[in-house]
């Protein structure tokens, strides 16, 4: 038992690699702070475009969204980071990763917001138009606030997914939490840094997952299916 | 109604109480339903009628008191409780038919899967039960193809299929359009004439007066008055019952 402890939760190794891992955590958080707002903004653009576009254009946009979704995020990432330089576009690694992850996560944010906008009743559009508001104002002050509230649990859920995605950055050598943990593991020839990194990811994301469950819980109803005995 | 030799109680509540989340739904209710007897539970909504019915077959577990079925305390769980439940039919306000099954399958499920009859035997039982409620021609209809009254009659057939000693009916006509109430009450009346014991929560006072052997008035979880229909409905002794009858 203590041997397992020494192997997987080695305090000395964890102590020595803590600094490295914290630096990685900072990169992970930075990347998340880039990707989540950018993805939301791009997603909102897609959703609004779909709400206002004529049907044929809406179909084109939705095909584009599905195309992005058809790529595994890691494939998109590798394409952007290793493919673009061949086209003469050299991006800093952080930017390349952020672009790829933003594209991916925006395709989901966009679909969620589209559903939210579609869920606001036509009467809201009519009422706002009859009071003389322009389309932009209607969207901004009337439709989006209601639409966002309707799909809030899904938005938070996708934010969890977006942060999880940032771990992919390690594959293209961006020094994020996972990458740093792999380096520390190699240096010490001990898996404790990996376990510590996993724990850090859980510490970061478990509360978010609980929050998603709480938001969804109002839908899931009766206690009758649960154990009574 | 029907005179039987030594009509012992089929179902007995003794000091039954039940709370939900700190709110007392039932306070020490004592009540017995004898063989062949029809007892009507009346009272405002939230007075505990549904809870009392659910305590009978332990869909709700009483906090205090005893529920006896055929003289023995009903078991609290497991296969023994399932066996007792087979001998008590229950009919719900919202019908609760299984939407993915036909009328016949709705009725045949328990004979087949709870009582372990053969597929053919369960089917025969189900057909008989559906004929008894006047739906012998709608065996293969799904619930959404039936009117509310027909759905409730299927639900009654489902409750009858295992020849229960007592039927528990929870406001069986409250969710029905007025013109459909009659057909369901007609079925219940004919079952009463056949001597099926029943405990029925209802707002249909005219029905209760005519069909019930006894009426029990519940209010705020307490049994306030009980007696023969004419006594309860014509000569209420308490202010609460008088107010209740006036409001209807």
């Amino acid at each position: 038992m203590s041997e397992l402890f020494e192997t997987f939760l080695n305090p000395a190794v964890m102590g020595e690699s803590a600094g490295l891992l914290l630096r990685g955590l900072v990169v992970t958080v930075e990347l998340s702070l880039l990707v989540v707002p950018a993805g939301l903004a791009l997603g909102a653009c897609v959703a609004v475009a779909q709400a206002l576009a004529p049907p044929w254009l809406e179909r084109v946009v939705s095909l584009g969204v599905d195309l992005v979704r058809a790529f595994p995020p890691l494939v998109l990432l590798v394409l952007v980071v290793h493919g673009l330089p061949f086209a003469g576009i050299e991006l800093p690694a952080l930017v390349g990763v952020a672009v790829a992850l933003t594209l991916n996560t925006a395709s989901y944010y966009g679909e969620i917001l589209r559903a939210g906008i579609a869920g606001v009743s036509a009467g809201q559009w009519e009422a706002a138009r009859s009071s003389g508001l322009g389309t932009t104002s209607i969207l901004r002050f009337v439709i989006l606030p209601q639409g966002v509230r309707k799909v809030l649990p899904d938005l938070v859920g996708n934010t969890l997914e977006a942060v999880k995605l940032t771990a992919l950055a390690s594959v293209v050598a961006l020094p994020d939490l996972l990458r740093m943990a792999r380096i520390a593991q190699g240096v010490h020839f001990n898996p404790s840094p990996l376990i510590l990194a996993a724990a850090l990811y859980l510490a970061l994301l478990w509360p978010l997952a609980r929050f998603v469950r709480r938001l969804g819980a109002s839908k899931a109803a009766p206690d009758f299916a649960r154990s009574r005995r | 109604m029907t005179d039987r030799i030594a009509p012992g109680p089929v179902l007995e509540f003794e000091g039954v109480g039940k709370s939900f989340g700190g709110i007392r739904a039932l306070h020490g209710v004592d009540l017995a339903v004898r063989e062949g007897e029809l007892v009507a539970l009346i009272g405002p909504s939230g007075s505990g009628k549904s809870t009392l019915l659910r305590c009978a077959n332990r869909l709700a577990e009483p906090d205090v008191g005893t529920v006896r079925f055929e003289g023995r305390e009903a078991p609290r769980g497991g296969a023994a409780l399932a066996r007792v439940r087979r001998r008590m039919g229950m009919v719900f306000q919202a019908f609760n038919l299984y939407p993915h099954l036909t009328a016949l399958e709705n009725v045949a499920l328990a004979p087949r899967r709870a009582a372990g009859r053969s597929a053919r035997g369960a089917r025969r039982t189900a057909v008989e039960a559906l004929e008894r409620v006047g739906l012998g021609d709608r065996l293969d209809a799904r619930p959404d193809q039936l009117s509310g009254g027909q759905q409730q009659r299927v639900a009654i057939a489902r409750a009858l299929a295992l020849s229960p000693r007592i039927l528990l009916l929870d406001e069986p006509t409250s969710a029905l359009d007025p013109e459909l109430v009659g057909s369901v009450l007609g079925v219940i009346r004919s079952l009463a004439d056949d001597g099926v014991a029943m405990l029925i929560a209802t707002h249909e006072l005219a029905f209760a007066r005519e069909a019930a052997d006894r009426i029990v008035f519940l209010d705020e979880g307490r049994m306030v008055e009980a007696g023969p229909p004419e006594e309860i409905l014509e000569r209420p002794r308490t202010e609460r019952l008088r107010t209740f009858l006036k409001r209807l």
């Binding site: 036509a122 898996p191 | 869909l59 001998r87």
Partner: protein
């Protein structure tokens, strides 16, 4: 432009990528089948209750939360690189399979559970009142109604699992992405990568379209009916 469609590099890459497709499909189908089965079993265990299962419910909930919180790649790396220290040498394929199954199992459990709880409690009452056991009630009455609700979200999670097979490239499983990147390193041409991208689009675009279609025609849980601007 010709550098992107370098014929030579493509000719070199195609056999490798083609063998990668087989690996991708095997890993995807095996993980989806096992992950859905795991999620189903856990949701059923949670619904049936019982004496010892009362203690299992918090464990199931914790498992579902943890494995929906952890990035799949982190899980894969931990399994693949940490397991050998415990004397457990897993192949890249098995480690990927394990990671994908654990992740899908968590989502699938929640989806099945949500489906079960979405069925009206009157259905439980009606079935139990006729003397059916909890198990029979669950399998004959509740699940037939619940499963319909679970199809759209399960389809989406299955697609996500299929796409996540690309993570296996990190632990040297010779699936599509891994084959493409290794040929790319040999040829110094982006053509193999583009070939792989084309393969993924061919594999997943139809599924993504189907997933969208399922979601819009779902009775509940999907996006609300379109009522856009007049």
């Amino acid at each position: 432009m010709e550098i992107f469609f370098d014929r030579e590099a493509l000719a070199l890459a195609w056999p490798a990528v083609r063998s990668g497709i087989a690996v991708t499909l095997q890993l995807a189908l095996a993980s989806i089948a096992a992950g859905v089965a795991l999620g189903f079993a856990l949701a059923v265990a949670r619904a049936l209750g019982g004496r010892w299962l009362r203690f299992a419910t918090p464990a199931i909930v914790a498992y579902a939360d943890a494995f929906r919180a952890i990035p799949p790649l982190v899980l894969l790396v931990v399994i693949y690189f940490a397991a050998p220290f415990a004397g457990l040498e897993l192949s890249g394929f098995l480690a990927s399979f394990a990671a994908l199954v654990l992740v899908l199992g968590a989502s699938a459990e929640e989806i099945f559970w949500a489906g079960i709880t979405a069925v009206d409690r009157g259905q439980w009452e009606a079935a139990l009142s006729t003397g059916l056991s909890r198990r029979t009630t669950l399998f004959r009455v509740i699940l037939p109604q619940a499963v319909l609700l679970t199809v759209p979200p399960l389809t989406n999670r299955a697609i996500a699992t299929g796409k996540n097979t690309a993570l296996a490239s990190v632990v040297a499983v010779p699936e599509v992405l891994n084959q493409a990147t290794s040929i790319q390193a040999q040829t110094a041409s982006p053509a193999p990568l583009l070939l792989a991208a084309g393969v993924y689009v061919a594999l997943f675009l139809p599924l993504v379209r189907i997933g969208r279609w399922l979601e819009t025609r779902a009775p509940t849980g999907g996006p609300a009916p379109a009522e856009g601007p007049p």
